[in-house]
């Protein structure tokens, strides 16, 4: 009797209307995290800066009077005196040591670095996370093989891969992205593996298995949404790292093919000529690099604060 009264109350229209506002107001984890992120002023400002940088790399060329590979013969040989930043001859950022317009080259280099970061970073994390999830879920021999490969991989200096890959496929940007993904397949592997190992013994996974779901479905439909927050945080850390890796290998001269350039290659050229007093060649690429790294750092920081469940 009491039970049916309770049922009647639950099914009544009045109850539904009473509960409706609260149900509408309750937000998902992601909406919550989104709101927390939006409240973080530094992170939002950084998103804006990064947006400007992306716009600069796409549309910057519209304001340039020179192309990035054209040599200005008027200043060649007198670069220290005439090659500095100037409004008159259209070299907003001056020229590089070969007399090419630095502004156009910085635009091109920014584009390369951002493309490499935003493609190679997420893809390698996805690759590592997938392997980590499989390895954590299945365990056993597969897990040991993956971990063994992981150990060996980290013990090989990664520059070897860049050199060998270039011998096979050349030094274009798409090859650069591919080899960076290949080198970084270990990104996020351990952390996702740990998470999955922890989650796979939880009741909802048992329930899914009882329902007769396949392993693939359990991993990608039920476990993946639960580790997504880790993957997002990790990706935000890997993107600046990847940009840095690209810059470093370009600095060392095994990066992208001339006349294409990247921020790292520009930094390297700037550093090699600074003894001659042409400091703008180091300053402008360094400034762009710092802006990109600072904003990515604060975006990552904001994401971590917004998504880390300890904060919930």
């Amino acid at each position: 009797m009491i039970l049916s009264a309770a049922r009647r109350r639950l099914q009544s229209r009045a109850f539904a209307e009473e509960q409706a506002p609260e149900m509408v107001a309750s937000r998902s984890f992601w909406a919550d995290a989104g709101q927390r992120f939006m409240r973080n002023r530094m992170a939002i400002f950084s998103v804006g800066m990064l947006g400007l940088l992306i716009l600069f790399s796409i549309f910057g060329n519209l304001f340039s009077r020179w192309s990035f590979e054209e040599i200005d013969w008027n200043v060649l040989g007198r670069i220290k005196e005439d090659g500095g930043p100037s409004l008159e001859n259209g070299h907003w950022f001056g020229v590089d040591e070969l007399g090419r317009d630095l502004y156009a080259r910085v635009v091109q280099g920014t584009r390369t670095s951002l493309l490499v970061g935003f493609i190679a970073g997420p893809v390698s994390v996805l690759l590592g996370a997938t392997l980590g999830a499989l390895s954590g879920y299945y365990g056993g021999r597969f897990d040991r093989t993956v971990l063994g490969a992981y150990t060996i991989w980290l013990a090989i200096p990664y520059i070897i891969f860049f050199v060998v890959w270039q011998a096979f496929f050349g030094r274009s940007m798409s090859q650069m992205i591919m080899v960076i993904i290949l080198v970084n397949w270990t990104a996020g592997l351990l952390i996702v593996r740990g998470q999955v190992m922890m989650l796979k013994n939880r009741e909802f996974v048992d329930a899914a298995r009882m329902l007769g779901m396949s392993d693939t479905k359990i991993i990608f439909r039920h476990l993946a949404p639960n580790v997504l927050w880790v993957v997002v945080i990790y990706t935000s850390l890997v993107i600046p790292e990847v940009i840095m890796m690209e810059s470093l290998v370009s600095f060392l001269g095994v990066g992208i093919q001339e006349p294409n350039t990247s921020i790292g290659a520009l930094l390297s050229q700037g550093a090699s000529t600074m003894t001659f007093g042409t400091l703008w060649q180091l300053g402008f690429p360094a400034a762009i690099f710092v802006i990109a790294q600072v904003s990515l750092f604060y975006i990552g920081d904001g994401l971590r604060d917004a998504l880390d469940p300890k904060e919930r």
Partner: protein, 310 residues
């Protein structure tokens, strides 16, 4: 404990073998080689050169010779690009340099990073805490390849205090900048790690007990809090120490120290497989051995871990 150490050491052998086989085939199967140049050598000369370096035999025979030479005589073969020098010579000359500034860099990291982290934790949300956070961000933004030119710009070009590169037998003036450039980002990480774990330890019940007993603050921190707080830092320092003593390739190249990083990059340019492989093996051995040492140190410090091993 001994059992565990032996087991770990035995694991190193097959791992290294896999690494050598993998890297060997990877490099040999790539098109081009140390003797291909713009102007191709006459076939007869090429055949002679290949024979001189034993490269005319099938790959698996070469691999076998390479590995057995290392096992029996510790001989890593001749360098392809530097005539009349063996890989052993190259490493013997370059590694001490890298080891020296890497060591000082590690000293710099520990002597500055750990105290900074402890002070930041003790003055939580105070001046030193913010200084440290600032430093952490700074080091994230200025990786060594941006920091090194800046250092040279300041110390060499503007103030003329330190030489901008070279080694000169390892006088201290030549060590300072490579060590700082190599260590700064790790120093910030160490400070951040130490701060985090110190804060955690200081908030734990046994520290409250120690305070309640009326122990002086100094004893609480040095005797009770420090040891457990340094464990994460220790774990982190293992791989970092390997990076440091193998040196950053970049630091070697930028400061022209003559360390193994420079040999590595030259080997990469000239496709000198022998040097690349030799250095990769050195790097891997150091990684494995140092990780093992850190694990053992960990067990020595933490009784819980020690119980888990035996």
């Amino acid at each position: 404990m001994l059992n565990y150490t032996l087991r770990r050491l035995l694991m190193v052998v097959p791992t290294l073998l896999i690494l050598v086989i993998f890297a060997f085939y990877l490099m040999r199967l790539a098109p081009g080689g140390p003797f291909t140049s713009e102007r191709p050598l006459p076939p007869a000369v090429m055949a002679n050169v290949l024979e001189r370096y034993g490269m005319d035999e099938p790959l698996h025979v070469q691999l076998w010779t390479y590995v057995s030479n290392i096992v029996c005589c510790f001989d890593f073969g001749p360098s392809f690009s530097q005539k009349d020098r063996s890989v052993n010579d190259v490493i013997a000359q370059g590694f001490p340099v890298t080891l020296t500034y890497g060591f000082w860099s590690a000293v710099f990291v520990l002597l500055l990073g750990v105290p900074l982290g402890i002070i930041a934790a003790l003055r939580h949300n105070g001046f030193w805490d913010y200084t440290m956070t600032g430093l952490a961000i700074f080091s994230q933004i200025f990786p060594n390849f941006v920091l090194a030119p800046l250092l040279v710009l300041l110390f060499t070009l503007s103030w003329g205090l330190l030489p901008g590169g070279g080694w000169n037998g390892g006088q201290w003036q030549y060590i300072v900048m490579p060590a700082i450039a190599l260590g700064t980002s790790y120093m910030a990480s160490v400070a951040r790690l130490t701060r985090g774990s110190m804060l955690e330890v200081l908030g734990s019940p046994y520290i409250r007990t120690a305070r309640a007993k009326g122990l002086p603050e100094r004893t609480i921190i040095l005797r009770h809090a420090l040891k457990p707080a340094l464990l994460p830092t220790l774990t982190y320092m293992g791989p970092v120490f390997v990076y440091m003593i193998t040196g950053s390739v970049f630091v070697d190249v930028f400061f022209s120290t003559g360390g193994i990083g420079q040999d590595f990059i030259n080997g990469a340019y000239s496709r000198d497989y022998a040097i690349l492989l030799g250095l990769a093996i050195l790097y891997a051995v150091l990684t494995f051995v140092l990780t093992l040492m850190v694990d053992l140190l960990y067990a020595w410090i933490d009784p819980k871990v020690r119980a888990g091993l035996s």
